[in-house]
Symmetry: D2
Amino acid sequence: MRVGFIGLGGMGSGMAANLLKAGHALTVYNRTAAKAEALVGDGAALAKTPGEAARGDVVITMLADDAAVEAVVFGSYGVLAGLKPGAIHISMSTISVALAERLAAAHRGAGQGFVSAPVFGRPEAAAAAKLFIVAAGEPQAVQFCQALFDVLGQRTFVIADEPPKANLVKLSGNFLIAAVIETLGEAFALVGKAGIDRADYLDILTNTLFGAPVYKTYGSLIAEERYAPPGFKAKLGFKDIRLALGAAEALQVPMPVASLLRDRFLTLLASGGGDLDWSALAALASRDAGEPSPLIAAT
Amino acid sequence: MRVGFIGLGGMGSGMAANLLKAGHALTVYNRTAAKAEALVGDGAALAKTPGEAARGDVVITMLADDAAVEAVVFGSYGVLAGLKPGAIHISMSTISVALAERLAAAHRGAGQGFVSAPVFGRPEAAAAAKLFIVAAGEPQAVQFCQALFDVLGQRTFVIADEPPKANLVKLSGNFLIAAVIETLGEAFALVGKAGIDRADYLDILTNTLFGAPVYKTYGSLIAEERYAPPGFKAKLGFKDIRLALGAAEALQVPMPVASLLRDRFLTLLASGGGDLDWSALAALASRDAGEPSPLIAAT
Amino acid sequence: MRVGFIGLGGMGSGMAANLLKAGHALTVYNRTAAKAEALVGDGAALAKTPGEAARGDVVITMLADDAAVEAVVFGSYGVLAGLKPGAIHISMSTISVALAERLAAAHRGAGQGFVSAPVFGRPEAAAAAKLFIVAAGEPQAVQFCQALFDVLGQRTFVIADEPPKANLVKLSGNFLIAAVIETLGEAFALVGKAGIDRADYLDILTNTLFGAPVYKTYGSLIAEERYAPPGFKAKLGFKDIRLALGAAEALQVPMPVASLLRDRFLTLLASGGGDLDWSALAALASRDAGEPSPLIAAT
Amino acid sequence: MRVGFIGLGGMGSGMAANLLKAGHALTVYNRTAAKAEALVGDGAALAKTPGEAARGDVVITMLADDAAVEAVVFGSYGVLAGLKPGAIHISMSTISVALAERLAAAHRGAGQGFVSAPVFGRPEAAAAAKLFIVAAGEPQAVQFCQALFDVLGQRTFVIADEPPKANLVKLSGNFLIAAVIETLGEAFALVGKAGIDRADYLDILTNTLFGAPVYKTYGSLIAEERYAPPGFKAKLGFKDIRLALGAAEALQVPMPVASLLRDRFLTLLASGGGDLDWSALAALASRDAGEPSPLIAAT
């Protein structure tokens, strides 16, 4: 398949490499072209504009936020202008439901296909093709993309015909992860101040009712208070909670835990912790309990 | 071993039966003696007072709340009076850290052993000897009890020498479960109002990052809005959140999510939902989103 | 002075009438021209476009929200196009800090003056020229406008040279009012459920430490559960809390009570209460306490 | 009238002095007798036990908390033992609704009168006889005490026949004050970070909708960040919020702002700020906004 790939950051570079390895004819675009060098060395073509990367059967965008996606799609020489009728844009970035609605409408208006397919997984999972993909769009379009999803992830969940619903599922998932971080933070602040060994405590949790990846991954970061280097930055976590709250507001759904998380992230950012891992929320629970919290102090 | 067992409710009756099956000489006590009949038929002795049940090597208490434990231990003809020097009281109920401290001091004063060993697991797990046990106490005493724990549960975690720490771990665990219920409730209110299929959504969660028993158990109750009959009543969940907040207050640890849960439980109780399963917290998130929520209305 | 006035709603019509009475040469504009009839009958000129209303020394905008102000200022035949260099736009609407920043920059770029002068007071106060005005802008411009402020309000507070600061003060004030509503709602739910007479309770509050207009006005609405007809609609209150949170987010200031208010407003809106008075927040506190709350049920 | 007065702290000493000045035959009791010296010099009798102070027509208790009142009333040689049938105990301390219920029942059982009459006002107001008194009890008993209330306060509000209702009103009032502190704290954090002058801002608030003593008193403390010396200590504020939440829990009334205040107070106490004025809650809002907050740092 002729595939364009736009966005070669921590996630995208691993994903693009996997597509190339699987034998697809890959054209890549990145704002800073240097990041494309390795892929070009392995046989990818380099596009000078997003639109040029969008001239194949499918173009994938994997970018940091709404603004980056808007620039790449709606800008001059952008995806919308470059994509042929019938070709498909797969948006895999974590973006707002509102932008997904705009993208769906714009591509429909241009006779192009559009599939939302955000992912769960950190950069290691992207590189190892172990992502979980949540896809939504017209059934034929989603089916056409399935071969690519099989290359990129370990499993694809097709959730709906309307692309924005996949984005809502993704945002709600990040909300659930952040809530796990916050509640673990509070629980560790409690048992830690009581003098219980943090590693022992985590061992109990993950070997009883809480034996899921989310508790293991974030539980060990929190138990060890290891908030740097970041796997996913607090400022990006804040962005996603804002997007979840924005989607919920549009539907008139109050989410008090999400509101609390928004305030916690603001506190962390105001303390200079935006570039820490988002699990650093837990350091605020310790600080509010009067416990020493070196990373916060250091920032 | 000569074992006394006090409290033959949903949890205790299965546990006592397992001890009997394992060949221990069992003496049981329950406030309403009728519940002891089956066990007596299988060979258990029936005590007329808690103190009488406490005359063996070990006595286990498995009761509903602090008041029940206080009555059984400190009352006339109670455990404290009946237990011989050197014999051990194993408290397996979910009680306050403060009461565990009082019990530890009282038994120490009387030359008796005391082990806190609260459990994770619902009545089915108790009957199937699949409980998780969190134990704390003097190492020798805990070790002496291990044979009994092996009969009652699938795994024992020894967390500390001070018995109240096991109770704190248990309470913090129930806090974490209630937090999962609340956050799932908010997430389902969001995706449900957006028209996403609730079962599909749960399938995504439990097959990606949230594949732990706590998400499977409560996720399916919430996805199906099946809040009755109760596995664990909302009013007991409220009790445990109060105890967690009480322990946190004594340590000066603010826990904002726990505070939010306390308010949610109060709302549920004030709406007449105290006897629903505690997962009915999720119905409040739906109601606040303006979604029909039949069970709340019905109560 | 030759004054243009744009926006003849509940607030604006009384304000414009006062300017006319004071002898100013008034040109009015309103999207639905019918609302201008009485003023025209009293001698005001009727403009066909916002820009036409902006050809005098000063033009005042008093509109419902950001979108209305943007349309009137930046639209074709708008205020920005119509205002002469050196003439002044006084923005008295409750708008976002971000829009005030855009307006300030746009007018500065066009060599025009810009003063932010939002007001405290309900329609009765506007009609009676009893508004409180919070003004910010270049000192000379503000001083030039003072004669108009004296006609419109009982007192003007000049807070800063940068216009957006007046908008921030206004938004923070509406936050404080909403917080009074919420806390009174909780207090009345408590004492009301205890069987204390609501009117007696209010009498105590307003005659001791809480003898301010905000407690008298909203206290009596809440004591009597009189949430319709609205003096200020819940959906507008929600808008203002959102704007306050937006301004706070831009400054990285967490405001947990404002977050809680946002969720309460969302709940009220989702229950169909958006057109009730914003004091209807208090009905949610009663409902969550299991108390009958007819207005919520009726909506 | 023969009046006993128990509790000569910051509030009680001024109140007792006013009773003496008004010509009442005063017998005083204080745990540390030294505090009674000045009053004895002015003609008061000194009792050796609380019971001895309770032998007149009326005995007033004005103590720090539930524990102090319980000790003085139920202890040996206490008020309950010393008070004659028909004589009246006036409880003016800020105590729990639950203790007020116990006191009412105990005195009724002993054929004694009991009036709850907690006050609003700081020590200066007590000394100046400017307290506001909220009274509840049997109408005849309250009427009998009115002459004393007239000496102690500027106004008495009789709220109910059941004494505990006066305590509930008092606790709800302290909740409302703490909520004002918290919301002012958030508002000042916002406008302060925006560079608006804090004194100017307070001037606007107190001269418009917020012209009540509670905003003037606490607004100026917060505007100037003057949290020491304390007028009312944070740890006492925390106590009162706990009592309000306890009373609300007994009635199944969720109060989310009160929950938030409880967490804020816990944070302040855990940071070592328990002896600051309770308005120091506002320093937490500043700290969470990343603003320098010297007093918190210093503690």
